[in-house]
Structure formats: structure tokens, C-alpha cells
Symmetry: C4
């Protein structure tokens, strides 16, 4: 398959709720960056997180194999809960990026999702 996507993406929204009604991993409040590498070369991806009141820490690096998708939780790369943030995702090959939150602060879950910004 021909590659699809771009090398630079941004997500302006970010907030991982502190509370979760459930201890089930799938239902714990989280935000995810979903990355698709539909091409034939491994993607070396750098994720930079921006905050409201301090400089971004060094980028988190992750590899996505060819013809694979990776759904990565921001809490698993050091983003604290209860804090506004944003992110830029950079890759050496074309990828596609989507952003999702599962929010289980109350008894029921709530979801949001959007394609990330690219140019």
C-alpha cells in the first residue's frame, strides 16, 4: 500500500481526569494518541508535550512498525492527571494521528475524539 499521512501533527486539547469510577484498565480515565503507519517502513515517532506553565520536557520516542497501528496512552508516557496539556507528534515517515479521551469520572463513561491537525 502507498504510504498515507503526514510527518507532523498537533493536538491542542489534553486533559486526563484524575478520577475513574472503575479499576478496570479499559475503563480507567485516559487519553490516547492513535497512530497509523500504513506504509512499508518503520516509523520513528517523537511526541512532545506542552503545558500551560513550563517548557516542554524532552520528547518521548516510540517506534511504530510498518503496516501497524499503535494506540498509546498519554499517562503511560509521563503526562500527569488533572493538568492541561497539548502535543506535537513528529515522524520520519508518513503517519496518521487521531486523539481520543475516555472519561470515567462519574459512574458512566464519556468519549471524545478528533483527527489531529496536520499541514
Amino acid at each position: 500500500m502507498d504510504p498515507i499521512g503526514k510527518r507532523r501533527w498537533a493536538i491542542a486539547e489534553g486533559y486526563i481526569p484524575k478520577e475513574s469510577v472503575s479499576d478496570d484498565y479499559a475503563l480507567r480515565s485516559h487519553e490516547t494518541v492513535c497512530i497509523l503507519n500504513a506504509g512499508e517502513r518503520e516509523a520513528n515517532v517523537a511526541i512532545t508535550v506542552f503545558y500551560t506553565d513550563r517548557d516542554p520536557p524532552p520528547a518521548h520516542r516510540v517506534k511504530v512498525p510498518p503496516r501497524r497501528t499503535l494506540h498509546l496512552r498519554f499517562c503511560d508516557i509521563g503526562v500527569p492527571r488533572g493538568t492541561d496539556y497539548a502535543s506535537v507528534i513528529e515522524s520520519d515517515v508518513p503517519i496518521v494521528v487521531q486523539h481520543t479521551r475516555l472519561d470515567s469520572r462519574r459512574a458512566e463513561i464519556s468519549l471524545l475524539s478528533t483527527i489531529a491537525y496536520t499541514e
Copy 2:
């Protein structure tokens, strides 16, 4: 009407919850690819599904008649529940693609939607 859309689309998020609070078809947890073919020629569409740990299986093929929309559930084209996935949608004529999840793991439903990525 003049055709509107593109021939290649990608959705980086994919996850069909295992559980559903209801047996009602409309309220069972599902993810949908919504395709609009606003043009005057039939669309031959190929949907390729990507996983985290194995190569994509052969594409699922579907036709969308001219001046019609098709809302297709991923569980109806072989995508398993409880598994991260992503998808690429390719057509021989311009189409428009949107992605939706209805999640009814808990007593209430939750929804997400986003326009797919195109280039």
C-alpha cells in the same frame, strides 16, 4: 451534483468494546465507517484494517451506489471486539468518510465521531 470528496481516507482510531448493556441492535456497542458517494458513478470501495501485532488481512470490498450513503459497522466486516485497530478506505471515485463509535459498556451510551483523514 458535482462529486465531492477524495479517493483515499484513513482512520487511526479503532476499538469495538466487548460489552453492551443492551441487545437492541441500535444500542449494541459498535464502530461505524460512514461513506457518502454524492456523485453519479458507483463507488468500488476497499477497506483495509490494520492491527498492532499482525499484518492487515485482505481488504474488505463494498460498493456504494451513486447518490447514496452507506454506514457500515466494522464488526460486520470481521473486526474483532476488544482489539485496537485502524483502517484505510480507498475508492475509485470521490467519497467522504466519517468515523463513529457508540459505546454501551455501561448503562448509558457514549458517542465519538470525527471526519477521517484524507490528503
Copy 3:
């Protein structure tokens, strides 16, 4: 303000739930097309609705004054409940289009939204 937007937009998803837990107009299940006309000329807008099994009926026409927004419910322009649909929105001046559903089939409400597709 300089105009912002495009003249042709498409929304591939469409489904107005049949049920609503509340008779309150604000909480009744609905889908909305949100139109922003930020420019200095009135927008003459045509909304064409596509179905899965029949040709689109004649377009619904609506005017959006300059420097105004219009949030229009699809049920108020003849789209039936419980039916898959999609839409194309065309204007004679640049506009911006966003799509939203409020779903109150169960006791709680659920929301989805996405920017529409444009080219």
C-alpha cells in the same frame, strides 16, 4: 472581517435517534448542522440529504445573514428519525460547517461533533 471558509461541505454521518428521555426541546435527541457566515454578504445555503436506499430529495434552502451563525436541526428540515443519512451543504459565499448530535435515548445524554469535510 475577511471571509473564512469554503462553499461546499459534506457530512457523511447522519442518524437522529427515535427516542428521547426528555420532552425538553434542548434535550430531545437531535442532529445539528452549525453554519458560520463570518463575512459581510448574506449566504444562500442549499442542504442536500442523501439516504441509503433512495435518491436525495430536492435541497432545503436557507439564508444565513452576514456576521451570523445558524444552528439548524436536521429534524426541522424533514429528515426522518431512525434513518441513516448524509448531507452536502453548498453556499454562494464562504461558510464554516460543523456537525453535532445530542443523543438522549437513555437517561443520560451523549454528544458527538466534528468539523465537516471541505475541499
Copy 4:
């Protein structure tokens, strides 16, 4: 990091629910404009709000420091609750804009989000 984003954005949807089930600031019904300034220069941002029945009031102005994100609630810049609105966000340097609603009219919260429109 090279700047990412554009200087003009638009959000066609806007509606801040009147009711909130909780007095907790985080769970009160709100809509947010999330702005990312990933570049090295301060962003001078003007947010213009459009209504259905009157001209837009003077733009609200806000600064976003370099390498920072700002998540701003529309109710904190004078947008009334229970009213349809839309917005245009303009900056003197590239930014990325995303739109979010947290709706807590009922006992549970519901979320929506989308990347804003840019050109």
C-alpha cells in the same frame, strides 16, 4: 521546534448548557477553546464570537506564551449560557486550535471535541 499551525481558525458550533449537576469547577458545563503555540514567539490572539441575532461584540484578546498551551473557557470571556454561538480565532503567529464541550446537564457528563477549521 519549527512553528506548526495557522493564523486563522473557526469553530461553527457553540452552546454552553445552562445547567450543571456539579459545583465542582472541573465538572461544571463548559466549552473550551484549546490553543497550542508550539513556536518561539508569543502569540497575540483575538477571539471573535458570532451570534444568531446580533453583531459580534469586540474581539477578546489574549496572549499565549511561546511553547505553551492555553485552554480557555468561553464562559470566562463573556459568552452567555444557553445561547447558540460560533467563533473565529486569529493570531499573529501560527497556532493550533481545538474545541471541546463538557456537558453536565444530567447526572453524568458528556463530551464532544473537534479540531477547528483552518485554511
